[in-house]
Symmetry: C2
Subunit: 198 residues, 2 copies
């Protein structure tokens, strides 16, 4: 196995949380993966592009965001180490997407090309199961976030964010958190100072 990068052990661990692979299947899996390194603030995927890959982050942190008609950014997801990210809309429709993916620091990811993913589904059907499961989790997470946006105040959403992503709270620039919970950076700043007065 020495022929593969160390980071492949991380992705294998990630996958093994939901399916078990034998040596041959691992080999098949590893054979379709590619490693890429990115600089700080590098745009990895731009809106308007067709997305051909799913990224698995092995170093650093990525963020996925959209831009609205007024030029405001809205963060759809953060992807620290051990997370998957991609523009799933564009990936499954193969139409130009709306997502931008950018690094928040110098980062490294493993890329799984859409075509390889399809081949993998055919050769090792367990992967169909694996991706079904992570997409299910992603859906659950998204639904909860939607409900929180509909039912909680900005302050309560921030509190939830702190509980859910303790490792990100002190790492991310505030404007990114503001954008994730859905408020302006100005309001976020005011809210936070009120928040910590208690």
């Amino acid at each position: 196995m020495a022929k593969y990068p160390d980071s492949f052990q991380l992705i294998l661990q990630n996958v093994s949380r939901h399916i078990s692979l034998n040596a041959e299947e691992i080999e098949r899996f590893f054979s379709v993966l590619h490693v890429k390194k990115y600089k700080n603030k590098q745009l990895i995927l731009s809106e308007g592009e067709i997305c051909y890959n799913t990224w698995f982050v092995t170093k650093g942190c990525l963020r996925g965001y959209t831009t609205d008609q007024n030029g405001f950014e809205h963060v759809l997801s953060f992807a620290p180490v051990d997370w998957w990210i991609g523009d799933i809309y564009s990936l499954i429709s193969q139409k130009p997407g709306t997502l931008n993916i950018e690094t928040l620091e110098a980062s490294e990811a493993i890329l799984l090309h859409r075509e390889h993913q399809e081949l993998l589904y055919a050769d090792v059907p367990k992967f169909e199961r694996f991706f079904r499961i992570i997409i299910e989790k992603s859906l659950v997470h998204n639904q909860q976030r939607l409900i929180e946006n509909l039912s909680l105040s900005a302050e309560d959403r921030y509190e939830k964010f702190c509980l859910r992503y303790p490792q990100l709270v002190n790492y991310l620039p505030q404007k990114q958190i503001a954008s994730y919970i859905g408020v302006t950076p100005e309001f976020f700043s005011k809210m936070k100072s009120r928040f910590y007065k208690k």
Copy 2:
């Protein structure tokens, strides 16, 4: 095939949009399905319950909603004929869920029990693919809705709703639409009268 209800043809059509089944697989599929009829405003699943089923609507219309700490309802999804619905969080975790599912009129659905679903995955792996695909679509839809909630005004969200669900706009009670787009019924009423003045 006369031994199965007519409505099974609808679910077969639905499934066949993403996978093709041979006679044997269809038989296996049909053998695990159950039909249920519901009265108007019947609560099919309550928050706090563990969800064991996925519902496929064959008559009428269901809605899935949560209740917040102030007693306000938030609609997560409407499920008219030919749609799937379930509390996916509870379904995959087998923990008590937060979703309520209720009929909006007398309705009929086909139930797929979680255990049957797992058996189906094992016997006919194509179903793994099928559910991966519909969950992917559901995720894409949810992400778009989240982004819309973060970036659009209530009025614009209503406009999107009208475009996306033309068949529901004149069918649903207004308070349900209000709850879906995330405003109070009072504000929705005012907004709508402004909206149609243009």
